[in-house]
């Protein structure tokens, strides 16, 4: 409904029951995170935008991703303000909102392991062994004679 001449279109104010002329795509994001403490199987933990409400989260998941949501609980995590930079100014870590979503219809969710242990073949294993042994030898050379009991070698007559 762009106006002619490149001017910005003016939409009438929306009131309940009126025609829906505009659709707002949400500018929110939701980030699924691994829970710090173990959560029940049907609970998924998200970091969401600070302005989102429980209703927003429920609609977001149900309409966009078709995930059945049974219950939503939110809390705001305060970011600490204790660290200081080189100018002795306090540096604040940002606040964020955490949402615990319980899935409906008996569904469960387990946060996946994003960094699984890779299967090592013989070549990498032998290379790792060689590397470890070399590092050990270097460390021992640095330490000096064990019979001196940790005393540095410049100490003496």
């Amino acid at each position: 409904m762009a106006a002619a001449g490149g001017r910005r279109a003016v939409y009438p104010l929306f009131q309940r029951g009126g025609p829906q002329l505009r659709i707002f795509r949400p500018n929110f994001f939701m980030l699924a995170v691994r829970p710090g403490v173990p959560q029940p199987e049907d609970t998924v933990q998200f970091r969401v935008s600070m302005e989102m409400t429980k209703l927003d989260i429920r609609n977001y998941l149900e309409r966009i991703y078709n995930v059945p949501v049974a219950a939503v609980r939110t809390r705001i995590q305060y970011g600490a303000n204790n660290k200081r930079n080189h100018r002795n100014q306090r540096v604040k870590k940002p606040d964020y909102k955490v949402a615990y979503v319980q899935l409906g219809q008996g569904q469960t969710f387990q946060f996946p392991n994003l960094f699984p242990e890779k299967e090592q073949d013989a070549e990498t294993r032998s290379f790792d062994d060689f590397r470890d042994k070399y590092m050990e030898k270097e460390k021992q050379k640095e330490e000096g004679d064990p019979r001196r009991g940790g005393v540095p070698d410049w100490f003496g007559l």
Binding site: V37, P38, Q39, P40, D42, T43, P68, A70, A71, R73, Q102, G104, G106
Partner: protein
Amino acid sequence: MGRWAPNHVAPKAPPLPARQPLLQASPPAGKLRYHVVRRGQSAAAVGGHRPAPLCCEMAALGARRLLRPGRRWFSETVPDDPAPLAGPLYPPVVASITAKSKAAKSLRLQRFNERVHGAATVEEKLRLYGKLQRPKYMVYPQTFALNADRWYRSFTKTVLVPGMPPRAAAAKPPIAAAGAAENGKAPEPSAEAPGATSAPELSAGTSPYPDMGELRSLACDALLQESFYQKKKRPFLYRDQDHTPGPFLTQLVSTLASFLSGRNPLLAASSLDLNPEVNFYWHHGNEVVVHGHRKGRVDPVRFQIDDNPHLQIRVPKQLPEVVPLESDLGHVPVIDHKPSKLPLFKKQYENKVFIGSKVADPCCYGHTQFHLLPDKLRRERFIKAHLEDQIEVVYRSNGIASLFAWTAAQAMYQGFWNEADVTRPFVSQAVVTDGKYFAFFCYQLNTLALTSETIKNNPRKNICWGTDSKPLYDVVEDGDVKGFNDEVLLQLVNFLLNRPKEL
């Protein structure tokens, strides 16, 4: 030897020299702080230490006077005396009470248990049991939390058995309408014809069969009076339950109880309370304290139930047990997560154990409770939110939590607690309703030992029988109750007529 030396000297004791203070005899190295001052010697002459108090010398003088002939000193034994004391000379070496160690903690617990065991009255026992206040989880029987009944069963070590327990044929009243169907379910091999056994039990003068039609008319009268005939204003916002279902339930139960008290002498001696309070406090499991000055210590997980049933019937005699004390009818769900994930919240306040009346009340055993579900937990709300499976969960969690609190509080009123487990099962019944749908629950408390130490070797489990919610009627229109369900009323009447076998 001076004249104060004893006549007999023990072989090991060194001879006491005259004119020397006794305390000089074998002083342990480094322990004695004072120096013995001889007569005529000044304190400064004794090695330049702290001046010895003169009282030491006075004590030595006094000690000399003690050793007159015939007197005994420490290491000397009288030969012609019988054997010295048979028991140990020193008190037992126990751990310190105030130290921050496991031995000290176990000693403190042991002393606390001894104190509670040795309490003279039940009130004193309850006072000591709930004396220490710490943050505890508040368990609400009527909760919107999802799958709460599973969590509540794990907190209370309860097995849920669907359906009602099979009752003895003699205890059931013969109701003409559905008599044959019910008696077929009785499992006792010695089940006799109902009419033969119950007829002599009933008081003479009343007919042996309570009429179904009469009971139905009573129930319909109460329902119509509350919902149709009586002119009421609009219900207050979110208080629909206080408008019609609450008064209807009160009216129905009081009329049925008075009608059936002729058949059940226990009901005649019962006490019916409106909106009483039922509280119980218990420990289950262990957790590590996270914040605060007690951080890092291992504490029991504390729970408290504060319940307000709509109606309560208490009786002076206990209901009979349904199954033996050690029976195992299922498994108890084990949940590894912290209770706060349910969600359940902690608060610190009075640790109360209460059945609805104080300890001195003669009606100290429970019979039946009636619970009314609040407006927040309406069926329509769950259906709108696509949570149909949670409707039954609400009824079950209410039944399990409320009945566990009531039966356990009754057991504590009789002097049992988690160190002194119950010796007989405590049975109570409950009806959970929202005005139209009724769910029936029967609970048998077999064990109170739920703390981490006492639960280890305890094979007993508490048992809860429960039904699904069924409607009593379909709709009330134009002074007429449509679709009245006789089974629900029958089950309610059975509940009210439940009594011990002797009566």
